[in-house]
Symmetry: C2
Subunit: 636 residues, 2 copies
């Protein structure tokens, strides 16, 4: 199982280190010492507190000094490939969000440039995503276009506030089944929303059910031109995706594999290019195309302006509070949904741990600056993560090349975007979102954890039927309620145990006992006492108790009074609190029939006293033991 | 400490019982058996399931068969005394709720009559309370009077629904500091609301701050007549309350003590009687009184009508949905606030344990029937609990006499209610609510539990400043968030331990590990590994773990992959999962460097293998031990 032992020159050095650490340990307090920051500080020449904070918050300073030529080439290739991918994707997402293409591209250049400096997860590429677009369209549809930028701005502000207040731990309350169900549901919703584009039918209704019913009632309006163009694009994309398998197989020649990989990773750009050229040529011969083009306003480079907090249009003007009430929960949902993807990607990378607060601050900055160049809300995306992994991206430097490519496209290619067929963009969204569809997890949960499956199903169904933000909220609340319920009904083992033939009721609470559980504990103990039918000592074993609050401590005192009342007036049932953590004992009011004890010998002593007092054990047999224990027995 | 041992004739019998139970235990499974329902069923001739359910839901069947003359006399006296107390109190509460006196009295007769049959807590007397009145006035003020009955009806329905759905456990999430702060804040608010009545100033503004500022700006309008009448009433009530001390002192003669007790318990009735007689006589000589009288509409016995779910007045009509939106959170807050008092009283009684679901159903019935006789929302009250304890109430039969007294008052005394000075009613409310003011608890919490003190202060301040229902909600949410936080940051002990001179990182999680905690656990372990600076085995001791969900299980598998990556490519850090509950092990994906083990010997074996493999221990010394363990070592 393990590799065979080899004698190694490093061995001696390592062994010395072990001894050193052991030595440190012994001088400290004689027992084993908790590992804390101080130990790590001593080892290398410690960087100052400020320097460490700076390195943590501006990660570019960590990797830039060590940057070399080899990384540079890898990053350049990855950056160009990602740039060519993100351009069509951004246009598609902008259309999904009901915005002109330009606004998607603006997100796709400002986000990466800021993430280059502050980003902590190498393979996250900030830009528009179909998920965020799908959620944000609900809050901006039918409103002036300025609502989209203000939503970006406010999302950024909310993210920065959450990051500054260290509220990143909120995201820990989103369990994996919830994230998976949420992303699968998003995939379903995005695919559904793009099917109508593939069919060339134009409408905008909220909700899956009404959308599907609208689609089915208007299916006769389907346009063959769009459908053929879309289907061809999907087939093309799927075929090029298959090329990646060739790129991975060791049998082929290296040149073929590299060629296949770049063909595969730039498939989105290729289909858009092909679609555009076809349209351009066709329009040379005919005035009208058989399929729809993405009608985008002509645009040049964006101008940098701080967004205004009031909106004045020809029809009406909105004050800041009116805007807030129109965007309503959007300004909380968009930031959370946006950051969720980044965290999920971060967990997939080798480092595995994400500094959520730092990520909130960074994406917040991307959004705030984004809103200044009229961008839509942005975040990382799984599709781009897959491509950056395939291209062998090394550092966030790739963001620089990506940003430049997008800027060039904005500046010089904008007029040509009008030749892109809408159906090809729909095909790109559909093919890229497929990676998020994951139905293996629920199958696995079916076998292993029905409770987690329930959460998955709940989240998935609510997301699909009532919108992803509702589904996310409901599932987080339900999982939180389940956690609360665990405090109300913790595992408490109540058994009749025996020690030296003396019986007692053993109560072992599993977790900390807080106020929601104390009445449960009391009624379990009282029930056990009633059923025991004779006077029996109760021993609560607190070695698993990690916490106790005032209400619970009062409840334990009350339990001892309950035990007084249960028995006849002359004597009361003894309540032994065994192995309770010392720092929690002072909370419990002492009563006549409540004792603390720390070891089993003491428990035995109390049990003997009580058994003698209640006459449960044979007197003669125990007189010696009782005298040994220092208990005085008077017999006439 | 313990009474001296006496030889008792019951000893032998008891000892036999012990043996019998022990015998049962041994035949079951050889180990100690959990106590369950079956044991208790065997002992007496078991009542059938239906009979037990009936006895539980209709408690009158439990005590009525055993009812005797002695109880009857005690209950009669208590009933009459309570009746004389509840009449002025109900009138005062009705006025506090902005309703004519009649509606308070209607609650005070229907509630007790229903509680007589279904009530499970002996000393709870259902009727109007200042607390419920104070909360409900916010939802009914300025609206047609029918809103009050519909609020009663809907509160009852909500209580019945909560009881039927067994949602009683929700109340376990209200901790004792919250209940105490809530009732103290109520007392402050009621006293503040009555001070303006004492001063004879009439206004109705919501919120303590605006009320106090209105009062201070209009203080010049104060009426000396009301103030003198109110002050005299308060002094009278306080003096009579002092008589109870005489009634308790053993020195006095029995006749004097009984006399004092009844004078003391009927003080509310006496002051109302005196006030009424003074007004009646005064009006014989003068046309106008120097103080305000409680202007109540004349009324007779109420008629029994099912409340209409729509309200039509001269000004406008309300549909059911409009009524619901006007009452808004009231239909949830009133039921919760109402039942809270009953639960708190139940916990004070000798039985100590309350069947919250049954209590919800009973009080719900009281409110639903109450709304049919135009009653205001009702619940138990601490003031009445104090009096019923003082009067020696034995069974809920006292409710019968009480109900009859109130009905008689409604039928024959209504015209005379108009002679009661308002200031005396204010004095009654102020004196009765004083028992709820408790500032000893925060002082105690200051010494013993700062966290509970924080909750107390939060609840108290928010209740006083923003209303009791807001305060209650905020404190419940905050305490729930704290419980959730305990799942996110559970106690996890990470130390370097040593076993036979072999060091390892020992990780002991305190509670169950659920999804919010898993990243915390992972980062703690990884940090410890980085700091250890050499390849060190990680042992997670799971003996305290009571639960594990899918996300956490996946996190543990991921931790083992993290440990793979941390070390150099050739070999990985071993992750030993020690004493994990067997039913949780299948959730964790097995990886190359993850092993389960159940005993310390096995841990030692793994540690030896790893130490040898990594060259941390002296080879020669351990060859023998390793061979003993069956581990093959190849040395050239």
């Amino acid at each position: 199982m393990y590799p065979q032992l080899e004698v190694d020159p490093e061995l001696t050095e390592r062994a010395t280190k072990v001894r050193l650490l052991a030595g440190n340990r012994d001088t400290k307090d004689g027992s084993s010492a908790a590992i804390d920051d101080k130990v790590s500080k001593k080892a290398p020449p410690a960087p100052s507190k400020w320097r460490r904070a700076l390195l943590r918050h501006v990660p570019v300073l960590q990797w830039l000094p060590a940057y070399n030529m080899e990384w540079g080439i890898d990053d350049f290739i990855a950056g160009i490939t990602l740039g060519l991918t993100i351009i069509p994707e951004s246009i598609a997402c902008a259309l999904l969000a009901g915005l002109p293409a330009r606004y998607g591209l603006c997100s796709a250049f400002i986000g990466p440039l800021i993430y280059l400096i502050f980003g902590s997860i190498d393979k996250v590429i900030i830009g528009p995503t179909s998920l965020v677009a799908l959620v944000s369209v609900q809050f901006t549809v039918g409103r002036p276009i300025e609502f989209a930028f203000l939503l970006t701005f406010l999302s950024g502000i909310v993210q920065i506030i959450m990051g500054s207040l260290h509220m990143g731990f909120v995201f820990e309350f989103i369990s994996m089944p919830v994230i998976k169900a949420f992303s699968s549901a998003t995939a379903i919703l995005v695919i559904e929303s793009q099917i109508k584009v593939l069919l060339g039918i134009k409408y905008l209704v909220p909700g899956l059910i009404s959308s599907v019913s609208t689609l089915s009632s208007r299916i006769s309006e389907a346009n063959m031109g769009d459908l053929i163009m879309g289907s061809c694009a999907i087939i093309f994309l799927l075929l090029l995706e298959l090329l990646e398998r060739v790129a991975r197989s060791e049998k082929r020649s290296k040149a073929l594999r590299i060629c296949c990989r770049y063909l595969s990773t730039s498939r989105n750009t290729l289909i858009v290019l092909i679609g555009g050229i076809v349209s351009y040529i066709w329009l040379g011969y005919s005035e009208k195309l058989p399929y729809a083009l993405s009608q985008n306003a002509l645009s040049s480079l964006p101008n940098f302006t701080v967004p205004s907090l009031t909106i004045v249009t020809q029809e009406r003007s909105y004050s800041f509070w009116q805007i807030l009430s129109e965007l309503s929960v959007g300004i909380v949902v968009i930031p959370i949904v946006g950051i969720l993807t980044n965290i999920s990607i971060g967990k997939l990378t080798p480092k595995g741990l994400v500094d959520t607060n730092h990520e909130l601050l960074t994406v917040g900055l991307c959004n705030v600056f984004g809103s200044c160049v009229q961008a839509m809300p942005s975040s990382g995306a799984f599709t781009r993560y897959a491509i950056s992994t395939a291209c062998g991206l090394k550092t966030p430097m790739a963001n620089l090349y990506l940003g430049i490519i997008v800027l060039l496209a904005l500046g010089y290619l904008s007029p040509y975007f009008n030749y892109i067929p809408e159906a090809t963009l729909a095909a790109i969204l559909i093919c890229s979102i497929f990676t998020l569809l994951d139905f293996r997890l629920p199958l696995r949960l079916w076998r292993e954890s029905k409770r987690d499956l329930g959460i998955w199903l709940l989240c998935f169904c609510v997301c699909v039927l009532f919108g992803v933000e509702v589904g996310l909220l409901v599932s987080i609340v339900v999982t939180a309620l389940h956690l609360l319920f665990l405090w109300a009904r913790p595992e408490i083992l109540v058994k009749i145990e025996e020690l030296d033939e003396m019986q007692y009721i053993s109560v072992v609470p599993g977790n900390g006992i807080y106020f929601p559980a104390i009445n449960h504990l009391r009624s379990l103990v009282l029930k056990a006492c009633t059923q025991a039918d004779f006077k029996i000592t109760v021993v609560i074993d607190g070695h698993k108790i990690t916490g106790l609050d005032y209400t619970a401590a009062q409840g334990i005192s009350k339990l001892s009074s309950d035990l007084c009342r249960q028995s006849d007036a002359s004597s009361s049932i003894l309540l032994v609190l065994y192995r309770f953590p010392a720092h929690l004992q002072h909370l419990i009011d002492l009563t006549d029939n409540l004792v603390f004890c720390e070891n089993e010998g003491k428990v035995k002593e109390f049990l003997t006293q009580e058994s003698l007092r209640n006459g449960h054990i044979n007197l003669k047999d125990h007189i010696r033991a009782s005298i040994d224990l220092g208990y005085k027995v008077d017999i006439e």
